[in-house]
């Protein structure tokens, strides 16, 4: 045996320490292996295998029968294993003494060197990982980490984009993802990066891992499903991190998830079946849910050790073991069988690529569904209730305003107003208020039942009869509008109507996206058009994806007839720049600020209409008159509220909200809108009765349009009357706000004059159109 290096007095080397270890334990090993005798010194060139049982003293073959046992190499290896274990203790001791890390456990090479023993491999060559396989595994590990980071970055950007989109919509009336500039670019970059790393990960997984078609299918299926879950997990994690909760709550959640992760596999599976499986077995509702819930929450609250489901676990564990054994056998059989089949790695990669693309699209679609469901929940539930909300507000004002309110008096009042309630003697509730809404629900809904419940129930079920988001794939030789037309025709619409609708849908999309060239005329097969049906009953494009070369055809390729059918939208939507002097701008800003910050609705009424509004009005009217009734009605509807809203963007931000939704907005900027809405509602209700009440799911734009129709009999008539009315134009402008002779006044005069001229022309156009329409009927 090698001895410690005598030249070194202090600071022993690792090698010296190892020698000491072996000197110390060699005797013990000898005792175990050779019946208390010392291990024989082997001849230098001999014994590639187990020690041959040579008698160390006589140099003859050993006769001791115990020595024969050492031919059992397994025993020898086990003995080495024991020695190594014992060495662990000494290792710590020596490390403490020498203050350095040393390798104590023998590698096979060290064992061979010291004992001149050639142990047989523990595993067969086939079972051992080859170097290339190891490299692949290391690469996969590395890529897995990279993928995790890229996935997280992608989800964070996606989350931020969603968040900013909501903020922008609220503040500025626009908020399409593609309109959010830098935020969108960051998202796109993160998304590309994620897809790139995912592809690398997929390729690395495919290389060498799959050897046949069936295995390829399994692997791709598993990768796709796994990645979907990982995306969702990351999304929930980001949601948790951004939740406005204490760090204690957040940490608590993570600790509990950690507890789950540290459980043995079979127990984790058992919990999975406990939570999801029991609910599955029990149907949509029932006791199964409670059981599942119990398992889930017990994990969250006290750890798995406290769960009283031992019996269930044991049953699952047994089943798990049996199934696993069976499955392994089947898998091996499959592998043998499949070795004969042909496998095309390129096809496999392609299929994986397709699946990767699908993952993200499904994620986005899923989100769209989620949004759509929430939106429908708002649109339907809120609309059903909001007539009641109006009553409730009046009740609250009535009693609390006089300082004599009491729960009892409110109760009595509500009892008298809620339809169907025993003893109700009051007039029927406004449209929608009493639809399936009982007294208690009414109270709870408005937070009068002591529960403080949210007004809008957060339904996660897709309302029956509603239309989910639509994902249209552009087929070969089709176009943006052509794809939509085909879809609409399949829904039963005739070709002409479908063509018109599709064009309007495309135009609206172009407008929302700020596409100055109009709707895309160049789109490729495989692109996806994602549409939703709004509460206005019209389809709207939410997104177009999957076409990197989306754009416009060269001008010469566009059929002129398509343009002849409709007014050139680009011209309409491009509002000329409004140039103002510094002085004008200051006045405008000041007025705007006071209008926006004022919580007193009356203050909003006194704010003069800014010049931008005249400017915008003129163009909106022009747009409306020139672009047929739909746009015309947008203008008319807007006009009902323009008198109370000094900011066109504000109207844009609220026009697609329901009446009740606006009431529920805790936004000072909406105070004036709320006030005007209530006034308008009361005024129209007095004049036209309950038919003038907002209806279930009706947006503000639809509601105001309906009121305009109600008031004037015919949409166009209404528009023309409004345009021709003395209040149009000059009378809506706060002329006194601009000091005479100032540059602001000059600006005002100029734009006022322009606006009047423009409006005069439009009045004339509108009257002409009305006359033509009358003649055509």
């Amino acid at each position: 045996m090698e001895k410690a290096n005598p030249k070194k007095e202090t600071a022993k080397t690792a090698d010296e320490i190892i020698n000491e270890v072996y000197d110390k334990y060699a005797a013990e090993a000898d005792a175990k292996l050779f019946g208390g005798k010392k291990m024989p010194e082997p001849k230098p060139e001999t014994a590639p295998k187990a020690p041959s049982g040579v008698d160390a003293e006589k140099g003859k073959p050993a006769q001791n029968p115990e020595l024969k046992e050492i031919e059992d190499k397994t025993s020898l290896l086990e003995a080495f294993g024991k020695i190594n274990k014992q060495n662990e203790g000494l290792k710590e001791e020596l490390i403490a003494k020498n203050n350095k890390e040393i390798p104590v456990i023998l590698s096979p090479e060290e064992a061979k060197k010291r004992y001149h023993y050639e142990p047989e491999p523990e595993e067969t060559e086939e079972e051992k990982l080859s170097i290339s396989e190891k490299e692949r595994d290391e690469r996969l590990l590395e890529l897995g980490k990279e993928l995790e980071a890229a996935r997280r970055e992608y989800i964070i950007r996606d989350y931020n984009l969603d968040k900013n989109s909501g903020i922008f919509k609220k503040l500025f009336g626009f908020g399409k993802r593609s309109q959010l500039g830098e935020f969108n670019r960051e998202y796109e970059t993160a998304k590309s990066r994620y897809e790139e790393v995912l592809k690398k990960f997929k390729d690395a997984t495919a290389e060498g891992l799959v050897s046949d078609r069936q295995e390829a299918e399994i692997t791709s299926n598993w990768l796709e499903k796994g990645e979907f879950i990982e995306l969702q997990k990351t999304r929930d994690q980001i949601k948790l991190e951004n939740a406005p909760w204490s760090q204690g709550i957040k940490n608590g959640c993570m600790k509990l998830i950690d507890k789950y992760r540290k459980l043995p596999t079979w127990k984790k599976i058992a919990i999975g079946f406990g939570v999801a499986g029991v609910a599955s077995a029990g149907g949509a509702a029932g006791i199964g849910a409670a059981a599942a819930l119990g398992v889930g929450w017990r994990i969250f609250t006290s750890g798995v050790s406290a769960i009283g489901f031992k019996g269930m676990y044991e049953g699952v564990a047994e089943g798990y073991r049996n199934k696993k054994a069976k499955s392994n056998t089947e898998e091996n059989l499959n592998k043998s069988f499949n070795k004969k089949s042909e496998f095309d790695p390129q096809e496999f990669k392609k299929r994986l690529d397709d699946k990767i693309k699908t993952v993200d699209r499904e994620i986005q679609k899923r989100k769209a569904w989620g949004k759509f469901r929430s939106w429908l929940a708002v649109g339907t539930a809120a609309a059903v209730f909001f007539g009641g909300r109006y009553v409730a507000q009046r009740v609250m004002e009535h009693f609390h305003g006089g300082g004599t309110g009491s729960d009892k008096s409110i109760d009595d009042y509500i009892r008298s107003r809620v339809a169907g309630h025993e003893g109700s003697g009051g007039s029927p509730p406004p449209s929608g208020a009493g639809q399936g809404l009982g007294y208690h629900e009414f109270k709870d809904t408005f937070g009068m039942g002591g529960k403080g419940g949210a007004f809008i129930p957060e339904s996660t079920e897709f309302p029956q009869g509603e239309i989910p988001p639509i994902d249209l794939e552009v087929p070969k030789s089709s176009s943006l509008e052509g794809t939509i037309i085909k879809y609409l025709e399949n829904q039963g619409m005739n070709h002409a109507e479908a063509g018109n609708k599709a064009h309007l849908i495309a135009l609206e999309y172009a407008k929302n996206m700020g596409l100055e060239k109009g709707p895309y005329s160049l789109i490729h097969p495989g692109a996806h058009i994602e549409m939703e049906m709004g509460t206005d009953g019209q389809y709207h494009i939410d997104n177009i994806s999957g076409d990197e070369k989306l754009g416009w055809l060269a001008e010469k390729n566009i059929e002129s007839s398509a343009h002849d059918l409709h007014y050139n939208e680009a011209e309409i939507f491009k509002k000329p720049e409004l140039e103002l002097s510094e002085e004008s701008r200051k006045i405008m800003d000041s007025l705007q600020k006071s209008a926006e910050s004022g919580t007193d609705a009356a203050a909003v009424d006194t704010v003069p209409i800014p010049l931008e509004k005249i400017h915008a009005t003129a163009y909106e009217l022009r747009s409306g008159i020139t672009n047929a009734d739909k746009n015309l009605w947008d203008s008319v509807a807007d006009k009902n509220l323009w008198d109370s809203i000094a900011d066109k963007n504000l109207w844009d931000s609220v026009k697609n909200m329901t009446y009740e939704e606006i009431h529920n907005q805790n936004d000072s900027k909406l105070a004036g809108v709320n006030h005007k809405l209530d006034e308008m509602r009361v005024q129209y209700a007095e004049k036209f009765g309950s038919g003038a009440e907002p209806m279930s799911g009706e947006t503000l734009a639809q509601y105001t349009e309906r009121l305009a129709r109600l008031n004037n009999g015919s949409p166009l008539q209404s528009a023309v009357e409004i345009i021709n009315s003395p209040s149009s134009g000059s009378s809506i402008v706060g002329e006194d706000s601009f000091p005479a002779g100032s540059s602001a006044d000059a600006d005002f005069q100029k734009f006022s004059s322009d606006a009047h001229q423009t409006m005069e022309k439009f009045k004339s156009d509108a009257n002409d159109k009305l006359e033509r329409m009358k003649r055509s009927f």
């Binding site: 796994g226 979907f228 992760r261 939570v275 969250f300 269930m312 199934k323």
Partner: protein, 98 residues
């Protein structure tokens, strides 16, 4: 329905029964983790700030599972139904997307 049947029903329902056992198990474990976290997040979402403070105090004070469950049931109307809905929706989501 015994555990084996539940296991099979769940795998069938999630459309993963065609995968080898180890891959099924891998997915079920990952899904369960996701589901548990989702139940937690949505439950906390339903609690108001005061409720969350109380929940935190309860868990910090070593409250037992039953106590926590009772608390949640008292603070969230139709709590069990809510969780049931989360589970059902979650499974739908998994079924439709994986």
């Amino acid at each position: 329905m015994d555990q084996a049947q539940i296991q099979k029903a769940l795998s069938d329902e999630l459309g993963i029964s065609n995968l080898p056992q180890d891959k099924q198990e891998d997915l079920i474990i990952r899904m369960t983790e996701l589901l548990l976290k989702r139940i937690f997040i949505e439950t906390m979402d339903k609690l108001d700030e005061e409720g969350r403070d109380e929940y935190e105090k309860l868990t910090e004070g070593g409250a037992g599972p039953r106590q926590i469950e009772e608390f949640l049931k008292s603070r969230i109307s139709d709590y069990e139904e809510m969780v049931q809905k989360i589970i059902v929706n979650f499974k739908e989501e998994m079924k439709n997307n994986i």
